[in-house]
């Protein structure tokens, strides 16, 4: 066990994966000599050299396209996209190629690329250093989507991603890269995909969140507890595959659901969760399903505090649900 921040845990996972398997390599902008703009790849260049820690030209198209080619040949590329906001030049490679390679070749060409990228707001990054567009990837059949919220999960989910046989979009909550730290198991610690993390138990309402929304959601649950409301908090960990069972089971118990994400509301992952609950937990629902999300606007700069869900807005929605039925 070591006490690490989230970004340190990611660095540790990369380090250990590269030590363990010579096929693992890292590529991206500024990941080598500079150690990554968030220092997630710090020290890797020195230890593993330019052949396995590749500073690329400024082209996300090139990063993901070449990573796919490497994976097809049997390497295990872990590509870094500097900010999720800059992944779009690679979107064609991701949705048209990476996601469909195994399917379209009838299984002849698996393509297990990992794409790591920091996402989310709260760092005064404005429109282009703040977005949360996990729904684009969750909507794309053939991609797995993982989003850790703790250092232990950051390491454990990343190692699982690196060992996975399929492509994984690994979204890192940059807002809590350094502000959240915790015990991280040493060695080959893996957290399975598709198993939500029960963060907190409660009987009155279920709060579902992931990534950087976990701290304010937990804070909301603590506030609610003082008001006599028992809030269960689930951290999804992976959106694809989804631990549907855990979500449905919890809402069957509490009868109320508040779905939290910082992404824009329309067609966000909250919609998917609401649809699942309105189908599968329908007869248990005691109140309207609430979503606490970013607004349907671009991500603002000066007003990001107003844009982002926070403990108070999450608690407010939970109170509404409890009052609602």
């Amino acid at each position: 066990m070591s006490e690490l921040t989230i970004v340190q845990a990611i660095n540790r996972a990369l380090h250990e994966a590269m030590q363990h398997d010579p096929n693992v390599l890292v590529l991206g902008e500024d990941v080598g000599v500079n150690g990554g703009v968030f220092r997630a790849t710090e020290g890797l260049f020195k230890e593993f050299g330019a052949d396995r820690v590749i500073d690329t030209p400024l082209s996300e198209t090139g990063i993901v396209g070449t990573a796919i080619g490497m994976a097809l040949y049997g390497l295990k590329p872990v590509a870094e996209i500097q900010f999720l906001d800059f992944i779009y030049p690679a979107f064609d490679q991701i949705v048209s190629e990476l996601a469909k390679m195994r399917y379209r070749s009838g299984g002849q060409y698996p393509c297990p690329v990992v794409i790591r990228t920091p996402y989310g707001g709260g760092i005064r990054g404005g429109l282009y250093h703040s977005q949360s567009t996990e729904a684009y990837f969750a909507h794309t059949a053939g991609l797995k989507v993982a989003i850790p919220s703790t250092p232990a999960d950051a390491k454990g989910l990343l190692l699982t991603a690196i060992h996975d046989e399929d492509p994984v979009i690994f979204l890192e909550p940059k807002r809590i890269y350094r502000s959240v730290s915790g015990e991280v198991p040493d060695g080959d610690h893996r957290v399975p995909f598709g198993k939500a993390r029960p963060v907190r138990a409660g009987d009155d309402v279920t709060l579902v969140a992931y990534g950087a929304m976990i701290p304010p959601t937990v804070e909301a649950a603590e506030m609610l507890e003082k008001e006599g409301i028992g809030a269960e908090v689930l951290d999804l960990r992976t959106l694809v595959p989804l631990d549907e069972e855990a979500v449905v089971r919890s809402v069957e118990k509490t009868g109320r659901a508040v779905l939290v994400h910082e992404a824009a509301r329309c067609c966000g992952f909250g919609g998917e969760l609401a649809a699942i609950l309105a189908e599968k937990a329908f007869y248990s629902l005691k109140a309207p399903i609430a979503r606490v999300t970013g607004y349907d606007t671009p991500f603002p700069y000066a007003l990001e505090h107003a844009y982002l869900p926070n403990a108070e807005t999450i608690a407010h929605a939970a109170r509404g649900a409890v009052r609602g039925g």
Binding site: T56, G62, T66, G74, G106, D166
Partner: protein
């Protein structure tokens, strides 16, 4: 002629690139004839509704066959969607090609793709997709992987004149230049991107010269000349293997037929232009040469065509008789293993299908 092995050749002496080997010219001709016959047949099958789509390669046979002969078995091929003749030379059995055109249960890609979108792992013929250019960066990535594994192999990316405008052309050539990736960029400039003529695709005088923007050589060759194409690919391959980096080859050809079975080329080009191009028909050119070299005469040639037609007809019919893929395959190969959600959707489909609802709960 079917079930051939990948027709890779050993290099006599590294560095010295020889002409296309005389002894294999007739064999190359046979592949070209076979490709031409498949084209003719496929166009008519599509009109009869027996296959859903087809993109003919007529006019590009020498370019494709010449390039394929320039490769070794360990080299990886990243096709666009018109490289059927490359697959033939690599030794892909005709039956597998037709299984794909039909999309039946024997298709290696399990009926997931439109006709012409081949993937043949055993022949290192990588999965084809429709989006233009995407294979180019992938070919570079595989080449970078070969570098790291110290494999004595290269990748070749096939693409058209239109694809030089794609994002992946730019990224792929740039990465290849920077990392000296052992990649051969093989552009079949067939003068058209559907209805857009080459001179409105880009203002550079040749496509080959675009390589200089990425710091490596580009060469334009007559794509109707089997030897010229073979030499260019062979030379590029040797440079790549020697660690000298990539080469861009522009094989200048002409697309005789429609872009695809969905296209009507008379809307945008004059028949006279096509006729002019057909005067340089690569299949005919090679035939004349073989006759001049006494490797072929008219009678033997007729037999080659007849044999090809018979084989194509029989093999297609066998592919056509093969049943379609099982519905459950719809859910397979999304991932290595079915997720619970896909498992549920599969079960719901089967449940619905059993109830006679055509699927879904």
């Amino acid at each position: 002629m079917t079930h051939g092995h990948p027709a890779a050749l050993s290099v006599a002496a590294p560095g010295a690139v020889s002409d296309f080997p005389m002894a294999r010219r007739l064999e190359a001709y046979r592949w070209m004839v076979l490709a031409r016959v498949i084209d003719e047949r496929a166009l008519s099958l599509q009109r009869q509704g027996r296959i859903g789509f087809y993109a003919p390669l007529a006019g590009q046979e020498a370019a494709q066959v010449g390039a394929a002969y320039g490769l070794e078995a360990d080299d990886w091929i990243f096709p666009a969607y018109r490289e059927l003749a490359v697959a033939l030379v690599r030794g892909v059995p005709l039956r597998m090609i037709f299984d794909q055109l039909v999309g039946n249960s024997a298709d290696l890609s399990r009926g997931t793709q439109m006709p012409n979108h081949f993937a043949f792992r055993a022949q290192n013929f990588v999965s084809t997709s429709s989006p233009i250019g995407t294979q180019i960066t992938q070919a570079v990535g595989t080449a970078m992987a070969m570098q790291r594994r110290a494999a004595r192999a290269v990748t070749i990316a096939f693409f058209g004149d239109g694809a030089t405008s794609s994002n992946d052309f730019h990224a792929g050539l740039n990465f290849a230049g920077v990392f000296r990736a052992p990649t051969v960029f093989f552009c079949q400039n067939n003068q058209w991107a559907i209805s857009l003529p080459r001179d409105r695709q880009t203002r550079s005088a040749t496509l080959a010269e675009k390589a200089s923007a990425y710091g490596f050589p580009g060469v334009a060759v007559d794509g109707n000349d089997l030897d010229a194409v073979y030499r260019a690919v062979r030379t590029a391959r040797e440079r790549a293997i020697a660690g000298e980096g990539p080469t861009l080859i522009e094989a200048q050809v002409y697309r005789f037929g429609p872009h695809s079975t969905s296209d009507d080329p008379r809307r945008y080009r004059a028949d006279s232009q096509v006729a002019e191009a057909r005067a340089r028909d690569p299949v005919h050119t090679l035939k004349e040469r073989l006759i001049a070299e006494h490797q072929l005469d008219e009678a033997a040639d007729t037999k080659i065509w007849e044999a090809a037609r018979a084989e194509v007809a029989q093999t297609f019919e066998a592919a056509e008789r093969t049943p379609p893929p099982e519905p459950r395959t719809l859910f397979e190969n999304v991932f290595a293993h079915l997720t619970p959600r896909l498992e549920e959707q599969r079960a719901a489909y089967e449940h619905g299908a059993l109830e006679g609802t055509g699927g879904r709960p």
